[in-house]
């Protein structure tokens, strides 16, 4: 394609265009049948600020509202974190609001669980029922008998507050199905979860992150910008994703071998002394141990593991170090890949430490100050409660406030260490996002009461006893939220309803406030949203006015380098190349590489990997009418040579099977994936009767994924499954 400019038959050089502007009016007049169209009048719309809720990025938007109906969502140009954009999902936010399948009233299950027989009930009856069931469970099983799970939502903080006031330690979010391994690794290395300053970077290695499809603002756009300014972006991915297609360089790395690549980078940087000796001496600890650890981990060794040529690894290590400190191994986000994902991500963190990029432009920067005040709250103490979470001490370094969904589920099924019999779910959907759907179902079957608050009837809601309708983010008032944008600083957003809440929907805040009264702890919710915002903004007196005027507020952002000379929040107060904490816990203090385990079954040849499309936010968006036009079904990406061996042709329906379950979907025969790997989108093959675009369409990836978890932090490990693939009908 590089020589396409010479194909003048098809691509005509338009030199005239830039110079002949004076002639254009004449051209227009001479064109056939030119005439003047009537004047078009501007729409009579009101423009209202909002923040998108189609994924976790929360891009600032402007809703165009005509006679109470949202006509269009546009990017808010003052919201610079998203570089003034709104993606396909953001645009499709209108369809989420007007989805005919939305939950409209509180619904009580009247048939068997999951059978889909519901009765519409009033709010009073619904909330009385929820309160009395929660009281019963607390009385029978202690207050920790209730599990609270809330998704990535601005009001999820109220679910956490409620759970604490109610008295349960059992709170999970989506994060233990997503990003905790990466957070664990960076906290244990840097004492913090840093942000990448992509915009000023000269060299970025993206491993296990597909930023051109799994959009993160502003990183996705900035990666394109910096490449045009001469920066290099290297993508390691077993798939030719759009990130791979657009990168300066792509390597189809063997899945599960990223750590070998990173340790080889460390080997080259240390043996060739390409690191900043002053930074490493003053700010890190454990260089000698690391040097000894990686002494044999040469590029040639890594080539055998990763499939990436040694010469390329050597070159990339040198290029990366030469660009430092404006260089990085991108920390990534979803890191729920392998049972050793924390250690894999530790190897990412270690290479960054050697680059000396901490708190430097183009490197990894600490979270910028946002100036928001916490709204204080003293949770009561209930002395009959068990000592901790139901998943406590299951792994050495569980995040206490996040836990592990996969281990919590296991323990609920076992009924140990104590019974957990109630589940309050807000806008998260483990039936479609947690590996091994049958286990999630098994867990639900152990429950005595399950209530789900959501906009749509997700697969998880479909399993509930009681479903409560929530408004979309365009129909409600929200607290202030701080968002981070690399070195550019934090920004604050809030939401006011751009239209009144549709149907009988109620924000979870109101639901919880009512329940707090019924359950006897009204003091936990002794405020409304405006009051709560005031308390949050107490230190930023000008913020509220600016939020009203611009839809976004930028608190003062001190220059980078503010942490120079400051201790890191680690046991040694330095960046821990060698982890003292891990040594104390009996864990490998340096990431020890082991080749990824081969499939235990010769019939299951393919490793199943997960990933994203820019038009899909897992199961929360696949039923969206507009987005379903872009991703109408999921397909199994199958390498063309593997397909030939299996006798599978383009579009054939294939049967995919793992020890967890099976599924049928069409094959996408393509050179864009390694021969040993298959991939499909999540969010299809759903079971809810109110998801007409996805139920019975494609295969469910969580039906196929085995239930594995990160041995250090309990994050799910969703790339540990091998599947068999055969053409439907074949022997």
């Amino acid at each position: 394609m590089s020589s396409n400019i010479s194909r003048r038959d098809f691509l005509r050089l338009a030199g005239m265009a830039a110079t002949a502007t004076a002639a254009t009016a004449a051209q227009a007049a001479l064109a056939p049948e030119a005439r003047a169209a009537g004047a078009v009048t501007a729409p009579q719309w009101e423009s209202k600020f909002g923040a998108c809720d189609m994924c976790f990025n929360r891009c600032g938007l402007i809703a165009r509202v005509e006679r109470g109906v949202i006509k269009k969502l546009d990017p808010n140009p003052k919201f610079t974190k998203s570089r003034g954009m709104l993606c396909a999902r953001g645009n499709a936010g209108v369809d989420q609001v007007y989805d005919p399948e939305r939950i409209k009233t509180p619904m009580l299950r009247v048939g068997n669980r999951g059978e889909g027989k519901w009765k519409a009930i009033g709010w009073d009856e619904a909330l009385d029922l929820a309160a009395s069931k929660m009281k019963d469970i607390a009385a029978k099983y202690t207050r920790c008998g209730m599990l609270f799970s809330a998704g990535a939502d601005t009001q999820s903080q109220f679910v956490h507050r409620f759970a604490e006031a109610f008295g349960s330690y059992n709170i999970t979010s989506h994060e233990s199905l997503c990003l905790l391994s990466g957070n664990r690794a960076f906290v244990d290395t840097f004492g913090d979860v840093p942000l990448p300053d992509v915009r000023s970077s000269k060299y970025v290695i993206l491993a296990g992150a597909n930023r051109m499809e799994a959009l993160v603002t502003p990183d996705s756009m900035d990666l394109m910008t910096i490449m045009r300014e001469g920066a290099k972006v290297v993508v390691l991915d077993p798939r030719y994703t759009k990130s791979a297609a657009l990168a300066s360089e792509w390597h189809a790395i063997k899945p599960g071998t990223d750590m070998a690549f990173m340790l080889a980078l460390a080997h080259v940087i240390i043996t060739e002394k390409l690191y900043d000796p002053k930074f490493v001496a003053e700010r890190t600890s454990g260089l000698d141990q690391l040097a000894a650890h990686v002494a044999e981990m040469t590029p040639a060794w890594a080539e055998a593991e990763t499939g990436i040529p040694a010469a390329d690894i050597l070159r990339m290590a040198r290029e990366l170090a030469a660009a430092a400190p404006a260089a990085m191994v991108y920390p990534g986000r979803r890191s729920s890949d392998y049972e050793n994902s924390t250690q894999i991500r530790r190897s990412f963190a270690i290479v960054n430490a050697l680059l000396g990029n901490w708190d430097r432009p183009g490197g990894l920067v600490p979270a910028r100050p946002a100036g928001l005040k916490k709204v204080p709250f003293e949770p009561p103490f209930y002395d009959d409660n068990p000592p901790g979470r139901v998943d406590a001490k299951s792994v050495p370094l569980l995040f206490d406030d996040e836990g592990s969904f996969v281990i919590t589920r296991e323990n609920i099924i076992k009924g140990a260490p104590y019974p957990l019999k109630g589940w309050f779910v807000y806008k998260t959907n483990p039936m479609a996002t947690a590996p091994d759907r049958r286990k999630t179902r098994e867990m639900i079957d152990k429950l005595e009461f399950m209530v789900v608050v959501d906009i749509a009837m997700s697969d998880t809601a479909w399993m509930a006893d009681l479903v409560l309708p929530a408004p979309s983010a365009l129909e409600r008032q929200d607290p202030v939220q701080a968002l981070q944008a690399g070195a550019e600083g934090a920004c604050l957003v809030w939401r006011d309803p751009v239209i009144p809440a549709l149907h009988q929907s109620r924000p979870v805040f109101e639901i919880l406030k009512t329940l707090s009264v019924k359950l006897g702890f009204p003091e936990a919710f002794d405020f409304d949203i405006p009051k709560y915002r005031e308390m949050q903004l107490a230190a930023l007196p000008e913020a509220a006015e600016i939020l009203k005027r611009d839809g976004v507020y930028y608190p003062p952002n001190p220059p980078l380098g503010g942490t120079d000379g400051q201790p890191f929040k680690t046991p040694s107060t330095k960046i821990e190349l060698y982890s003292n904490r891990y040594a104390d816990l009996g864990l490998d203090p340096l990431p020890v590489y082991a080749s990824p385990k081969a499939s235990p079954d010769a019939g299951r040849k393919f490793r199943l990997v997960a990933g994203r499309s820019a038009c899909v936010t897992q199961a929360s968006s696949t039923n969206n009418a507009l987005l379903s036009e872009f991703e109408p079904e999921n397909t199994l990406w199958l390498n063309e040579e593997s397909a030939k061996e299996l006798g599978v042709k383009q579009g054939d329906v294939v049967q995919v099977e793992s020890p967890a379950g099976k599924g049928e979907l069409k094959a996408l025969v393509t050179p864009k994936i390694r021969k040993d790997t298959v991939y499909m989108l999540s969010g299809f093959g759903t079971i809810s009767g109110k998801l007409s675009h996805t139920t019975g369409v494609g295969a469910s990836i969580v039906e196929l994924m085995e239930s594995r978890f990160d041995a250090i932090c309990g994050n799910s490990a969703i790339h540990e499954t091998f599947v068999s693939v055969k053409k439907k009908g074949a022997a």
Binding site: A17, P32, W45, N91, M221
Partner: protein, 260 residues
């Protein structure tokens, strides 16, 4: 001086996220299954046995200076707007005959399955009247699409063209330069996808003979409606929803061809 609206696209910036396509559908109420704009994917090259750099190409109606669709239209519903150079469909005059669809070498036109008339990119006139850029331009994450009046040297589009003088290309049909007003910076891919415009033979003759004004009058009088009714019914039978049009679904099918 009259305006000349154009789109200047830096396709090397495109990440194929489909934001422009979604924004267009939402802004213009485009029916399910049809698309006013698109992103095409170049077949990636194979270098040393592995796939090389990819390239994505945003597109839509190019509002040509010599639009074949205007000639193909029997009623004068499709015309070139004198004031701004855009190619406009007057829905009141369109009889849904479908002649314009194969006449466009770029597949930019389709028959709206609900309104049963021709449809394509309009550059969002309502948004422009409100002082906003077209929806696809406004929403683009990497600002690959730039829109403006290229006869105004101060417009973003004119400035971008000027800055890239000598490096701007247009996608055209082989030996059929309709003078599109969609400019791609530096180089773009895929190419060779534009087809030869197809006009009904009888109609070619008619359009040569009959003065534009007469055609317009025919359209207004309803004669065109009668004349083309038979054709409309025939076209209506065909599953021509999005036919010449490369929407995302078609993109996906092409994945399988990449190895060639």
């Amino acid at each position: 001086m009259n305006a000349k609206l154009a789109m200047v696209i830096d396709s090397a910036k495109c990440i194929d996220c489909k934001a422009c396509v979604a924004a267009c559908k939402q802004a213009n109420g485009v029916s399910r299954g049809v698309w006013r704009n698109w992103i095409k994917e170049a077949v990636p090259p194979v270098e040393n046995g592995k796939l090389g750099r990819g390239h994505f190409q945003p597109g839509a109606c190019m509002h040509c200076d010599e639009p074949s669709c205007v000639i193909a239209c029997p009623t004068g519903a499709t015309f070139k707007d004198k004031a701004d150079g855009s190619v406009v469909i007057d829905p009141k005059l369109c009889i849904g005959c479908g002649n314009c669809i194969p006449s466009c070498p770029y597949g930019a036109r389709f028959r709206d399955p609900v309104r049963r008339i021709a449809d394509k990119c309009t550059y969002c006139p309502e948004r422009r009247a409100a002082g906003l850029p077209p929806a696809c331009v406004d929403t683009c994450p990497t600002k690959a699409r730039v829109f403006g009046d290229i006869s105004d040297p101060n417009s973003d589009a004119a400035k971008l063209l000027a800055a890239n003088q000598g490096k701007v290309v247009r996608v055209i049909a082989k030996q059929n330069d309709t003078k599109p007003n969609m400019y791609y910076i530096a180089s773009t891919a895929p190419d060779g996808w534009a087809v030869k415009p197809v006009n009904p033979l009888s109609f070619d003759a008619l359009s040569q003979v009959v003065a534009p004004l007469v055609k317009y009058a025919v359209g207004l009088s309803g004669l065109g409606v009668l004349a083309m009714l038979g054709r409309q019914l025939l076209v209506g039978q065909k599953p021509d929803v999005g036919t010449p049009h490369e929407g995302p679904e078609k993109d996906k099918k092409e994945d399988g061809h990449d190895a060639r």
